[in-house]
C-alpha cells in the first residue's frame, strides 16, 4: 500500500515550521535559537579565545571546536544520559566538519572558537537543527564566514522520497526507511554534511538530495532574517 499520507499531514516536500532568533544568550559572544517542528536547538559561540591544552594550538589558523549535547529531558520520554557519549561525539565532529568550509579563521592563529549546541527538545533532525543554530550563532559572534550553512534531513519512508523526517517517520516499521541528513552551503551549492542511516537506492538518494537543495532556501531565509531582526529599530 505504501506511505501515502504523512503522519502529520505535511506534503512530501514540505518541512516542519521553522523559527530562529539570534542573540538569545547574553553572556556568549554569539548565540542563536533554532526550531524546526518540535526539535529545538540553542547554540552559543565563545571566542576566538586562548586555546589550551597548548598542543592543540595551530599556529597557521584558529580552530573550531563544536560540542553537541542533548538535554536529559529532551527525548521521547526516557531520560537521555547527559554529557559525552559515542553518538554525541560523532555529531560534534560532523557538525564541526559541516561548518569548517565556511568559517575563515586565518586571522586567529593559536586561538579557538567554541560552539556549544544544546537541545532542550528533540523530534529527529537534531544534528541539522544544531548546525543551523550554530551557523547563525557564528555569524552573530562576528566570525568571518563565507556563507551561512543550512541543514535538513531528507530520506525515504516505505516508497516515498521526502524531506525533514520526524521521529515517527524515522521509526516507521512497515517498510524501509532511510534518513539522510545533509548540510548545504547555499552560495556554492556544496554539500558539507552527508550521512545516511537505512536503505535507499542510488536514484532515490539523488532525488532526495535534489529535494533537499530545493527546500534549503526556505531555511536559509529564516536564518538570514533572524540575524537581521536583531538590528531592526524597535521604537
Amino acid at each position: 500500500m505504501g506511505y501515502s499520507q504523512r503522519f502529520d499531514g505535511r506534503k512530501f516536500d514540505e518541512i516542519r515550521p521553522i523559527e530562529a532568533k539570534a542573540g538569545v544568550i547574553k553572556n556568549a559572544d554569539g548565540s542563536a535559537f533554532f526550531r524546526i517542528g518540535k526539535t529545538t536547538a540553542y547554540a552559543a559561540v565563545y571566542g576566538p579565545r586562548d586555546l589550551y591544552p597548548k598542543f592543540m594550538q595551530d599556529p597557521s589558523k584558529g580552530i573550531l571546536r563544536c560540542n553537541y549535547s542533548m538535554m536529559p529531558f529532551s527525548g521521547q520520554g526516557d531520560r537521555v544520559r547527559p554529557g559525552q557519549n559515542r553518538r554525541a561525539r560523532e555529531i560534534s565532529m560532523v557538525t564541526e566538519k559541516a561548518l569548517l568550509p565556511v568559517v575563515d579563521l586565518v586571522d586567529f592563529p593559536n586561538a579557538v572558537v567554541d560552539v556549544f549546541i544544546e537541545l532542550p527538545q528533540t523530534d529527529a533532525g537534531s544534528r541539522c537543527a544544531g548546525i543551523c543554530a550554530a551557523s547563525i550563532a557564528l555569524a552573530d559572534a562576528g566570525i568571518p564566514m563565507r556563507d551561512l550553512v543550512a541543514a535538513v534531513s531528507v530520506g525515504k519512508v516505505h516508497d516515498k522520497v521526502l524531506v525533514d523526517l520526524d521521529y515517527n517517520e524515522e521509526a516507521y516499521e512497515d517498510g524501509p526507511v532511510a534518513d539522510v541528513p545533509i548540510a548545504i552551503i547555499p552560495s556554492t551549492e556544496e554539500i558539507s554534511l552527508l550521512q545516511m542511516d537505512g536503505e535507499i537506492s542510488k536514484e532515490e538518494l539523488l532525488e532526495a538530495i535534489a529535494l533537499g537543495k530545493k527546500v534549503i532556501n526556505q531555511i536559509i531565509e529564516v536564518q538570514r532574517k533572524a540575524l537581521k531582526d536583531k538590528y531592526i529599530v524597535k521604537d
Partner: protein, 233 residues
C-alpha cells in the same frame, strides 16, 4: 560575454555572511567582502559602506582585533621576569616589558608588582603586533598610565568609534554633561571616574550608544537624552 553590473544593497543596509552584494566587475570587494566569479558576497555580519566603487562591510559584532598604535585598557594578569602580561579583551594577551613601562630606573631583581600589581588596570598603547598575534605594549607616552579608582565597563569593541564620535564629539559631550573622567580603550574597555550618580548616567548613556550605534542621527538623540537625564543629577 558582457554582464551588466548591478548593486543589490544600499548604504547602511544590514547584511549577513553569504549575501550577494553586487554583480559584475564595476564594483570592488573591500574589507568584510569577497569576490566569487562575477559576484561580490558579504563575509561578515555588518553594515554596508559604499565608497565609490568599493563595497565594504563594517562589522557589527566580533572580538577586538589588536591593531598597531591602538590605545587600549588592559588588566595585569601575570608578572614575569622582564615585565607584565596584560589581558587585552581579544583572543590574545599582550606583553608589557619593563623597558616600555617606565623611564624610571629599576634595579635587577626588584619587585615589579610595586609598579603594576596583579589585577591593576593600565592604559597602554600597542607598539607591535606580529603575524602570530604577539602583542607588545607601552605605557611611556602622555595619557598612558595605571588606572586608580573609578570603574571599568566592557562594551562591544566594534561600537567604540561611535562612542568616541567624530573628533571625540560624543565622548566629550558625555564628559561635559556628567563631569566624569572617562578613558575609552579601543578594545572595548571603558574607565569612568566621577560622582556615583553621574557615573551611572554616563554608563547608561554609553549603553544606549552601544545599542543604537548602527542608526543615523545618533549624536542629536544622545544630546537630547543627556539633557533630559541631567535634571535628575
Amino acid at each position: 560575454m558582457t554582464h551588466k553590473s548591478a548593486l543589490f544593497v544600499k548604504d547602511k543596509d544590514v547584511v549577513v555572511p553569504g549575501e550577494h552584494l553586487a554583480q559584475g566587475m564595476d564594483y570592488l570587494p573591500g574589507l568584510g567582502t569577497y569576490r566569487k566569479g562575477e559576484v561580490i558576497l558579504a563575509e561578515r555580519l555588518g553594515l554596508i559602506n559604499l565608497e565609490g566603487r568599493a563595497i565594504r562591510v563594517i562589522a557589527l559584532s566580533g572580538k577586538y582585533m589588536p591593531k598597531l598604535n591602538d590605545v587600549m585598557i588592559g588588566k595585569v594578569v601575570d608578572v614575569t621576569l622582564n615585565g607584565w602580561r596584560i589581558e587585552t579583551n581579544s583572543a590574545y594577551t599582550a606583553m608589557l616589558s619593563i623597558k616600555d613601562a617606565t623611564s624610571e630606573f629599576i634595579s635587577r631583581g626588584s619587585d615589579l608588582t610595586k609598579i603594576f600589581a596583579l589585577g591593576d588596570y593600565v592604559v597602554a598603547k600597542i607598539v607591535n603586533v606580529t603575524s602570530q598575534k604577539l602583542i607588545d605594549l607601552t605605557t611611556k607616552a602622555p595619557g598612558l598610565k595605571k588606572l586608580t579608582g573609578g570603574r571599568i565597563i566592557k562594551v562591544n569593541p566594534n561600537k567604540v568609534p561611535r562612542i568616541i564620535g567624530k573628533q571625540g564629539s560624543m565622548i566629550s559631550m558625555i564628559k561635559d554633561t556628567t563631569g566624569c573622567k572617562i578613558t575609552v580603550g579601543q578594545n572595548g574597555l571603558i574607565w569612568l571616574d566621577g560622582e556615583p550618580k553621574s557615573e551611572v548616567l554616563a554608563i547608561k548613556t554609553i549603553r544606549k550608544i552601544e545599542d543604537e550605534a548602527h542608526l543615523s542621527g545618533l549624536t542629536d538623540k544622545i544630546k537630547l537624552y543627556l539633557e533630559e537625564q541631567k535634571k535628575d543629577l
